[in-house]
C-alpha cells in the first residue's frame, strides 16, 4: 500500500528510477542518484574527498553529493546544485569553467559554469553496460578466433573465453543490484578529453567532454581487476594511473596506449602527482609509502619516511615545495624535490584527503573534517 502511494505521489521519481534500472523492489525513498544533494550549511564541515582549482575558484567534493566552491581561497563557501547525493570522490577541471566530478554509484557529473551547477552525465549502470558491451565484443572476437584457430590452441582459447564470460556474468549480476561500484578519480586535459578511474579496474575515456565514454580497461594491464585509485598528468605530458597492488600505468601518447610499470611496492597506491620536473613521478599510498621516479616510472626510488600514515593526495606549491597529505592528519613537506620529507601531524588527527595551495604559502586542505585553511606546514591558522 505504502509503496503504491509513494509511487503515486512521487510519480516522476519512481518513473525516473525505473528508467535508470529496474529495481528489484520499489523504494519508498528515491534512490541516492535520483536525490539532489540537500542544501546545507554543514557541507564545508563534513567529509570532503577532493579539492581542485577552476581558475581562481576552489572547488571541493565530498559525501552526500556535496560540491562546494569558494572565490576567496576557502574563507567562505557556496554549495553547488548537484542532482545526486552519493559520496563524491574526485573532481577536476579541463578549463576554468568546464569541470567533472565522480563518485559512488559510478556517477560522472559535469559543470559548464565553473562548478556552480552540475548535471549527471553517466551512472554506474551505464558504466557497467559499457563494460559488458566490451566483454561481449571480446567474447565474440574470441569465438571467431577459436573458430579460426588450429585445434591445438583451441583449449587455451576456450579457457580465455570462459574468463571473459565469467567476468561478464559478474558484471551482469552487479547490474542486477544496480550501480554498485564507485569511480575514484577523474582527470581532464581540456574541455573534451579526459579519463575517470574506479573500483575493480574501471577506466573510461571521453573525447567529447563526457557526451560519450569508452571502456579503456582492455588497454590496461590489470587482469585481476584491481581498483584504480588515481589518475593524473605529470610535467612533461605523460599520464599516470595508480591503484591497488602497487599498480602504476603510464601513457606517453595522451592515453591511447598504456604500459604497466614494475613497482617496488605491492601495497595500494592512492595517489600520484608530478613534481614540477619533466617526467618525474611521485606515487604514494598505504602506510606512508612513497615511490619516486625521474624517468617516467622505468626506475623507482623508495622515499624514506617515518610517518606510516596512509597518504591520499598531494600538490606542488609555486616555490617548488611538494606537499602530501594523508590519514591521521599527516602533512608531509619536501623542499628538495622529494629527496626527503618533513612530517607534521595535525592536532585533530583527522584524515586529510586532498590539498591545494592558496596565496602566500598557505594550504587549503579537505578531508574527514571538511575544508580548513592552514599554514605551509598544515597547521591550522588561528
Amino acid at each position: 500500500m505504502a509503496k503504491r502511494l509513494m509511487c503515486k505521489t512521487l510519480g516522476a521519481v519512481c518513473l525516473g528510477l525505473s528508467m535508470v534500472w529496474s529495481a528489484p523492489a520499489a523504494f519508498a525513498l528515491a534512490d541516492v542518484i535520483e536525490t539532489p544533494a540537500r542544501p546545507t550549511d554543514l557541507a564545508p564541515e563534513r567529509l570532503l574527498n577532493d579539492v581542485t582549482k577552476a581558475g581562481d575558484r576552489i572547488v571541493a567534493v565530498g559525501e552526500r553529493g556535496h560540491i562546494i566552491y569558494s572565490d576567496d581561497e576557502g574563507q567562505s563557501w557556496t554549495q553547488s546544485d548537484v542532482p545526486v547525493s552519493v559520496t563524491l570522490t574526485g573532481v577536476d577541471f579541463g578549463s576554468d569553467t568546464q569541470g567533472w566530478a565522480v563518485g559512488h554509484s559510478g556517477v560522472i557529473l559535469h559543470s559548464e559554469d565553473a562548478g556552480e551547477t552540475w548535471k549527471l552525465q553517466l551512472t554506474g549502470v551505464q558504466a557497467l553496460e559499457i563494460a559488458i558491451q566490451t566483454k561481449e565484443d571480446q567474447a565474440a572476437a574470441m569465438e571467431e578466433r577459436i573458430e579460426a584457430a588450429p585445434e591445438a590452441e583451441k583449449g587455451d582459447l576456450e579457457w580465455a573465453l570462459d574468463d571473459i564470460l565469467f567476468t561478464m556474468e559478474n558484471m551482469q549480476s552487479d547490474l542486477d543490484i544496480g550501480p554498485v561500484n564507485p569511480l575514484l578519480d577523474v582527470w581532464f586535459e581540456n574541455d573534451n578529453h579526459g579519463f575517470v578511474v574506479g573500483a575493480y579496474g574501471m577506466i573510461l575515456r571521453t573525447t567529447d567532454g563526457g557526451e560519450s565514454w569508452q571502456d579503456w580497461a582492455p588497454r590496461i594491464d590489470n587482469a585481476t581487476n584491481f581498483h584504480l585509485n588515481g589518475v593524473t598528468q605529470i610535467t612533461g605530458g605523460a599520464l599516470v594511473v595508480v591503484g591497488e597492488s602497487g599498480q602504476i600505468h603510464v601513457s606517453v601518447d595522451g592515453g591511447q596506449t598504456w604500459e604497466r610499470r614494475e613497482s617496488p611496492y605491492e601495497g595500494s597506491l592512492f595517489g600520484v602527482i608530478g613534481t614540477g620536473q619533466v617526467n618525474e613521478i611521485l606515487a604514494f599510498g598505504l602506510r606512508g609509502n612513497m615511490l619516486f621516479s625521474s624517468d617516467l616510472g622505468k626506475t623507482w626510488r623508495v622515499v624514506p619516511s617515518t610517518a606510516d600514515a596512509t597518504l591520499n593526495d598531494g600538490t606542488v606549491v609555486d616555490d617548488g615545495r611538494i606537499i602530501l597529505v594523508g590519514n591521521g592528519g599527516v602533512v608531509l613537506t619536501s623542499s628538495n624535490g622529494a629527496e626527503s620529507f618533513r612530517e607534521y601531524f595535525r592536532s585533530d588527527r583527522e584524515g586529510v584527503m586532498s590539498v591545494v595551495p592558496v596565496s602566500g604559502t598557505g594550504l587549503l586542505i579537505v578531508g574527514e573534517g571538511g575544508a580548513t585553511i592552514t599554514d605551509a606546514r598544515g597547521k591550522n591558522l588561528q
Binding site: A2, K3, M6, A25, F27, A28, L29, V32, T35, R38, T40, L42, L47, N49, E63, R64, V86, T87, T89, G90, H104, S105, D174, I177, G178, P179, V180, P182, L184, N229, E266, G267, S268, F270, L286, R287, T310, N312, N327, G328, R349, G351, M353, G367, E368
Partner: protein
C-alpha cells in the same frame, strides 16, 4: 445529608440550632468511635512504618503514549542502549599517562568489574581487552589492546600507551579530548541474569559512592571521580527521598510552635498536631496496603495531609474556643463547633479531594499515585479532623488560657478587622478589582513564556549544582557526547534490518535530523556500515558510503555493537544526540521524524518514535500539554460544582472561584519568569493549589452569607466574618505554606519547584480570599434578594 430539616427547605445556615443526624450519631457514641480510631490507627500505623521508597522509572512516564508503548514493546532489544554508568577518572595535576594514574584506573576497573549489576563482558576501560587500536596494513588489519602487553609503568611503555590511544579512536569516547581523564564504561543488567532479581538502584549507587568515589579519591588525592548514568541518577533520587524525613521533623516543629502562638492553648495545639499525624499514618498505611510505595512525588503527600489537617483543625480549635468563651462546657462547645463547621469543613475537604482526583486523568502513574495518595489522605483528614479531633476536644476541652486568648484577642483585633472590612466597601472594591485586572493582565503577559518540559541542562530531576549534574557537565565538556538522546526505532521484517534500503532510509533520516536545529549528531547502523566499509577498503575515505552490495554491507556490520541490531535482525535504532531537552527542541525533532516516517514508512521499514531519555521526555511533554487544559477544566469544574451545590448560587461560585483563577494565572506567570516548566512535577501543583485554595473562600463565604442573611450590610457582614474566622483563615494559609516551604531545600529539583509554587499558591489564595472575595461580593452579591429568597424558603 439526609437531614429531614433540609428537605423541608430550611437552609442549614439559617437554622444553626438544628441538631443534625450526623452530630447525634457521633456524639452519642464517643467512646466507641475513639476505640475504633485507636484500633484503626494501630493497624494502619503499623503498615505505614513498612512503606518502602520506590523510584520506578516506569511510573514516571506516560505508559499509554504511543512513543512509550513502542519503547516498551522493544525494550528487550534496546535494553543495552540506555542503562549504563560512566565513571570519569580525572587527574588533577598532569595528564593520564603516568604510572600512578594507570594504577588507580586499573584498581577502579577491577572494582567496577565485581560490582553487582555490571555486565562484565561489556565493561570498557583502557585496561579491558575489548578496547583496542587497529591499523590497516598491506596484509589487512593489525591491532592490539590499548595498554601494551609489555606494560610495566615505564616511560617507554607509557609512551607506547599514548601512541595506542591516539590510533584507537577512543579519544572523545573513553579518553577525554584533553587527556586529563578517562572513562570506565559499565553497562548494567536491568535484572540479574543469575538470580533474576531487579537491580537495586539505591544500593548500586551507594556502592559507587563508597567503593569507587570515596575509596579512590582518598587513596589517590590526585584523582577526582565523576559518575553519571541512569542508575546513579535514580540512586541519587532515592537518597534525596531520605532527606524528606528532616523536612517532616522541621515542619512539625514549626507548625506546632505557630499553632501554640495562635491558640495559646496546650490542648488546642497538641490535639490538631496529633490528629493530623494520625491522618498521615492512616494515609501511609492504606497506601501500603494498596501496594504503593513512596516515590519522590508521593512522598510529599504526607506533608500536604498534615498541613491540611492542621489548617482545618485550626478552624475547629477556633470554633471551640469561641463557644467555650461563651461559657459552654467542653462537650457542648465541641458539639456546637461541629455543627457550625461540618458542612463547610466537609465541603472544603471534599473539594480538596476531588481537586486531587482530577489528576487521575493524566496518564502518568506517579501523578495518578499522587492523586490517589492525596485523595486518601484528605479522606482521612475529614474523619480525623471532624470526628477524632472534635471528640478528643470534647473530653479534654480547651484550656482557660486558650479561651482567654480568644476573648481578649477578639476585642483587641476588632480595629484591624474593621480596617480590613473596607475591602467590601463600595469605594475600595473597584480599586481592588482594578488591581486584580492589572495583575491578571501582567500574569497573562508573562505567562506567554511558559514552557512545557524541563528547561535546565543535565538531569532535570536534580539541582543544577548537584553532584550528579556537575559530573554530567564535566563529561559533556570533556567528551564528545550528549546526555540527551532520542532513539528512533526502525522495525523491519525478520532478518531484514541490514538491507540496503533500510540503511539508506536511516541515513536519509539522520541527514534530515542533523540539519535540524538542536540536533548535535546522530548514529546508526548506517554509520557503522559506512565507517567499516571505509576501513575494509584500506581506510580510504573515498569508500565512506553505504554499499549497494549486500555482501559488503553484511561484512561491514559483522561486529556492530549489539545494541544496534536485535537478535532476529528486525529492529535497529537511530540514535539522535540533542543539544538540550527543551520542549521546542524535542518538538522540532519529533515533528521531523514523524513527517519522515509518514513519507517513508513501508513494509521494508517502519520508523517508530521513541526511546531514549529525550524520547520519554517528548512523550511526557505531549501528554502534559494535552492534559493540562483538561485538568484545569476538571478541577475548576469540580470545585465550582461543589460550591454551587452547597451555596446554590452562581454569584457565590464566582466570588469564590475568580480569586483562585487569578492565583492560577499568576502562578503560571511566576513559573515562566523563574524558568520552571510545566512538567510531571508542576502540573499537580495547580490542581493541589486550587483544590486546597478553595477552602479559604468556602470558610469566608459561608460566614459572609450567614451574616448577610442575618440582615447585615455587606461591609458589616464582612467585618463579622473576619472577626469570627479571619484569623483562622489567615492562619490556615500560613500553616499550609509552612507545610510545603521546607521542600524548597530538597536536593530533588522538582520537589523544590513544587514547594516553591505551592507555597505561593497557598498564601496567595488566602490573600485572594480575604482581599478579592469581598470586592467581588460587592459587585456580584445581591443581599436583599438573598434575604428575600431565604425568607420565602422559610
Amino acid at each position: 445529608m439526609s437531614n429531614p430539616k433540609h428537605d423541608k427547605g430550611e437552609h442549614y445556615l439559617t437554622t444553626p440550632k438544628a441538631e443534625p443526624f450526623l452530630e447525634r450519631m457521633i456524639f452519642n457514641n464517643r467512646a466507641i468511635i475513639l476505640v475504633a480510631f485507636f484500633l484503626l490507627t494501630l493497624f494502619l500505623g503499623y503498615n505505614a512504618t513498612k512503606i518502602q521508597p520506590d523510584a520506578s522509572f516506569e511510573r514516571m512516564i506516560p505508559l499509554q503514549h504511543p512513543y512509550i508503548v513502542n519503547m516498551l514493546e522493544n525494550r528487550d532489544d534496546l535494553q543495552n542502549l540506555g542503562n549504563f554508568v560512566r565513571i570519569a577518572v580525572e587527574v588533577e595535576e598532569g595528564d593520564i599517562f603516568t604510572k600512578e594514574y594507570m594504577e588507580t584506573l586499573k584498581q577502579i576497573t577491577d572494582e567496577v568489574f565485581y560490582l553487582n549489576g555490571v555486565d562484565r563482558s561489556g565493561l570498557q576501560t583502557l585496561w579491558t581487552s575489548n578496547v583496542r587500536w587497529v591499523e590497516v596494513t598491506e596484509q589487512g588489519f593489525q591491532g592490539g589492546t590499548v595498554i601494551p602487553d609489555t606494560y610495566d609503568g615505564s616511560d617507554a611503555s607509557l609512551e607506547q600507551l599514548r601512541q595506542n590511544v591516539l590510533r584507537s579512536n577512543e579519544v572523545g569516547r573513553l579518553v577525554a579530548d584533553n587527556f586529563k581523564s578517562t572513562i570506565v564504561y559499565a553497562p548494567l543488567y536491568e535484572k540479574n541474569p543469575e538470580t533474576g532479581e531487579p537491580l537495586d538502584y539505591g544500593e548500586f549507587s551507594r556502592q559507587l559512592e563508597e567503593k569507587i568515589r570515596e575509596k579512590y579519591e582518598a587513596e589517590n588525592p590526585n584523582v577526582e571521580i565523576h559518575i553519571v548514568g541512569f542508575a546513579k541518577k535514580v540512586g541519587d533520587l532515592i537518597e534525596g527521598i531520605g532527606s524528606i524525613a528532616w523536612f517532616a521533623g522541621i515542619t512539625i516543629i514549626l507548625t506546632t510552635l505557630l499553632l501554640f502562638w495562635y491558640s495559646r492553648s496546650i490542648t488546642g495545639t497538641l490535639v490538631p498536631v496529633f490528629t493530623s499525624i494520625i491522618a498521615v499514618f492512616l494515609q501511609l498505611g492504606t497506601l501500603r496496603l494498596l501496594g504503593y510505595g513512596l516515590d519522590p512525588y508521593s512522598v510529599l503527600v504526607p506533608f500536604l495531609v498534615f498541613a491540611i489537617g492542621i489548617s482545618h483543625g485550626v478552624q475547629i480549635v477556633n470554633a471551640i474556643a469561641v463557644e467555650a468563651a461563651k461559657g459552654f462546657d467542653a462537650v457542648t462547645a465541641a458539639r456546637l463547633a461541629f455543627r457550625a463547621l461540618y458542612i463547610p469543613g466537609m465541603l472544603a475537604l471534599i473539594s480538596d479531594a476531588f481537586g486531587f482526583l482530577t489528576l487521575i486523568f493524566i496518564e502518568i502513574d506517579v501523578i495518578r499515585d499522587l492523586a490517589v495518595a492525596a485523595g486518601i489522605g484528605v479522606a482521612f483528614v475529614i474523619i480525623t479532623n471532624l470526628v477524632l479531633h472534635v471528640l478528643i476536644m470534647s473530653y479534654i476541652g480547651i484550656s482557660k488560657g486558650g479561651i482567654r486568648h480568644v476573648q481578649n484577642h477578639g476585642e483587641k483585633q476588632d480595629r484591624k478587622w474593621r480596617v480590613m472590612s473596607y475591602f467590601a466597601h463600595p469605594g475600595v472594591a473597584p480599586i481592588s478589582l482594578l488591581i486584580a485586572v492589572i495583575g491578571l493582565g501582567l500574569g497573562l503577559y508573562y505567562k506567554q513564556n511558559l514552557k512545557v518540559g524541563d528547561l535546565d541542562r543535565g538531569a532535570p530531576e536534580l539541582r543544577a549544582d548537584s553532584r550528579y549534574n556537575t559530573d554530567n557537565a564535566f563529561i559533556i565538556d570533556n567528551y564528545s557526547t550528549s546526555a540527551d538522546v532520542l532513539v528512533v526505532m526502525v522495525e523491519t521484517p525478520v532478518e531484514q534490518c541490514t538491507q540496503y534500503e533500510v540503511l539508506r532510509a536511516m541515513d536519509a533520516l539522520q541527514w534530515e535530523l542533523e540539519n535540524t536545529p538542536g540536533v548535535q549528531s546522530s548514529a546508526s547502523l548506517a554509520d557503522v556500515s559506512k565507517i567499516v566499509t571505509k576501513a575494509l577498503n584500506e581506510g580510504n575515505w573515498k569508500w565512506y558510503e553505504i554499499s549497494r552490495n549486500q555482501t559488503i554491507i553484511n561484512a561491514s556490520i559483522r561486529s556492530a555493537p549489539s545494541g544496534l541490531i536485535n537478535t532476529d535482525c528486525s529492529l535497529t535504532p537511530v540514535l539522535v544526540f540533542l543539544e538540550d531537552h527543551k520542549a521546542e527542541t524535542l518538538q522540532t525533532v519529533v515533528d521531523r521524524v514523524e513527517a519522515f516516517a509518514v513519507n517513508n514508512n513501508s513494509e521494508d521499514h517502519t520508523f517508530l518514535l521513541a526511546a531514549g531519555n529525550a524520547g520519554v521526555e517528548a512523550a511526557t511533554n505531549e501528554v502534559i500539554s494535552s492534559a493540562k487544559d483538561m485538568m484545569l477544566l476538571m478541577v475548576y469544574g469540580v470545585v465550582s460544582l461543589l460550591c454551587l451545590i452547597t451555596f446554590r448560587s452562581v454569584r457565590a461560585v464566582l466570588c469564590i472561584v475568580v480569586p483562585l483563577g487569578l492565583t492560577s494565572i499568576l502562578c503560571e506567570a511566576i513559573m515562566a519568569v523563574s524558568g520552571i516548566g510545566i512538567k510531571v512535577a508542576t502540573l499537580p501543583v495547580i490542581a493541589l493549589g486550587v483544590g486546597i485554595g478553595v477552602d479559604y473562600g468556602i470558610y469566608i463565604y459561608s460566614k459572609l452569607e450567614k451574616y448577610l442573611l442575618e440582615g447585615k450590610t455587606l461591609q458589616e457582614a464582612y467585618f463579622e466574618t473576619l472577626r469570627s474566622t479571619g484569623k483562622a483563615v489567615m492562619f490556615t494559609g500560613v500553616t499550609l505554606g509552612l507545610g510545603v516551604v521546607t521542600w524548597i531545600f530538597s536536593p530533588i529539583k522538582f520537589q523544590a519547584d513544587m514547594g516553591f509554587l505551592l507555597f505561593f499558591m497557598f498564601l496567595w489564595n488566602m490573600v485572594g480570599a480575604i482581599w478579592l472575595l469581598p470586592a467581588l461580593a460587592r459587585f456580584l452579591l445581591r443581599p436583599d434578594q438573598m434575604l428575600a429568597k431565604a425568607r420565602a424558603a422559610k
